[in-house]
Symmetry: D2
Subunit: 161 residues, 4 copies
Amino acid sequence: MRTVIGVMGSGRPLPPAAAATARHLGSLIAAENWVLLTGGRASGVMDACSQGARVAGGFVVGVLPDVDTLRASSALDIAICTGFGDARNVVNVLSSDVVIALPGGAGTLSEVALALSARKPMIALGWDPGAAARAAGRIIDADTPEAAIEAAKDLLAKGLK
Amino acid sequence: MRTVIGVMGSGRPLPPAAAATARHLGSLIAAENWVLLTGGRASGVMDACSQGARVAGGFVVGVLPDVDTLRASSALDIAICTGFGDARNVVNVLSSDVVIALPGGAGTLSEVALALSARKPMIALGWDPGAAARAAGRIIDADTPEAAIEAAKDLLAKGLK
Amino acid sequence: MRTVIGVMGSGRPLPPAAAATARHLGSLIAAENWVLLTGGRASGVMDACSQGARVAGGFVVGVLPDVDTLRASSALDIAICTGFGDARNVVNVLSSDVVIALPGGAGTLSEVALALSARKPMIALGWDPGAAARAAGRIIDADTPEAAIEAAKDLLAKGLK
Amino acid sequence: MRTVIGVMGSGRPLPPAAAATARHLGSLIAAENWVLLTGGRASGVMDACSQGARVAGGFVVGVLPDVDTLRASSALDIAICTGFGDARNVVNVLSSDVVIALPGGAGTLSEVALALSARKPMIALGWDPGAAARAAGRIIDADTPEAAIEAAKDLLAKGLK
């Protein structure tokens, strides 16, 4: 089975620097030959990271909150349509070997918390999920996409996959 | 349709003071003739708050993560068995007119975040969900069960039901 | 915990005789002091059965496919909002001590199948779910609401609750 | 986005002929360069069809009812862990462009019904889902894996994707 890295983050339009970070992270995940898993929609981190992975030749799975692909990113190889709304956030984290969370809103924070609840390896890239999240489980901090990839490699090597 | 107040919080064994707070909150919810909704299990805030409501003559609905009632609190009037694990946290917040969150771990934090994502009125009783949560939506702070009830009344009166 | 009887069936507008059957079944469930659980919407069997139970003083829980109560029956005491679409059919059957299925379409047939998969006691009232369903589990046939109630009593007495 | 064919059927140990049919169907799906989607477990049609696709060089996605991959088929490229039990059946059908159902029990029948409810193109291979299912939506019959593939091609060509 292939290694799956879940990338979570804001679903809103991104400032240029945040979009570049998400795209770059996607390309690095593709370069490791890992499958990228996102929330699948054509917006925010989901889309930017997927586009970055796609351009770099990676494989992208989107786990959509929707019953169809009308709002799906054009960079997906496979869309998983759940029709579950925010409850698909649980699927995102359970299906990932490592979760990398970029800055986001309530949905992203829920994915951080759900990942901790499921004891999934969790990397926060460029933001602070806060003391309540840190008290609930281990969060590894990364400042750059490269550092996040290194942290993910370490976690996978430690047999956390 | 009856007003439903969702109470979230730690599922682990509670120190006596925390158990007393949860029980008292349950009794106050029952006194308002509101339905209490919890995660339904026989542990932590779920059980203590349900027992408090039950003793006070209230009506208690438990939305279980499980497919059956083997782990359900004895204080439930009705058990909703979802079999969804943590994804039932979404049901908890969507089914509540107001959500009151007591201190807890990753599961509770996910419910705070999911409630904010669903734009549900959210009251934090006796703890701080953190800056990331507050940036994601409005959280009303309460220091006592009585203050939480007053805040809930205000929210319901403002037509947020 | 109270006994919960789940009633499934067509969500479309009902001919008068079918509506009368569903309403009558609801009133009989209320007369037994059982909680009625339906799919919660303001249409078809869900609404007719709920109205029948409500008028007879019963307690009605609706497990909605929706994130809110905009399409809910006016006869519900409590609405469980799942936001899960057809996946809430699983919740309906898991939360019921006995499932009674009236004639319906694909959604109803899925509930019959999901109930059999969960080994829930299943009564078909006034229709034939077919050989494939019968091969998958035990289905008790009833011709009238009164016969369905008697079958449910038998099942509950046999400790199937 | 790649074309996804969902194959459903019994999760129990298969007689040799049924296993051969499922394996052969998997290999034909792979030969069309379609992605195979199954319920993901290491048993029954899920496993046999996945093994057939894998040996033929295909790509296999398993949508598991479980929170982890402990019971997953060894032939999966990607596992989607839902933790939803039978509610993942909804994900299976919503994520498939065409659903092919082999003989099975209650779970398979629920997937047929859920596919019809979602208006997904549905092919029954070698069995009869029954009059109640046929009344609920269109089911195309196929006697052999080759016929099922031809029917799927026709459905996809008609723009049902």
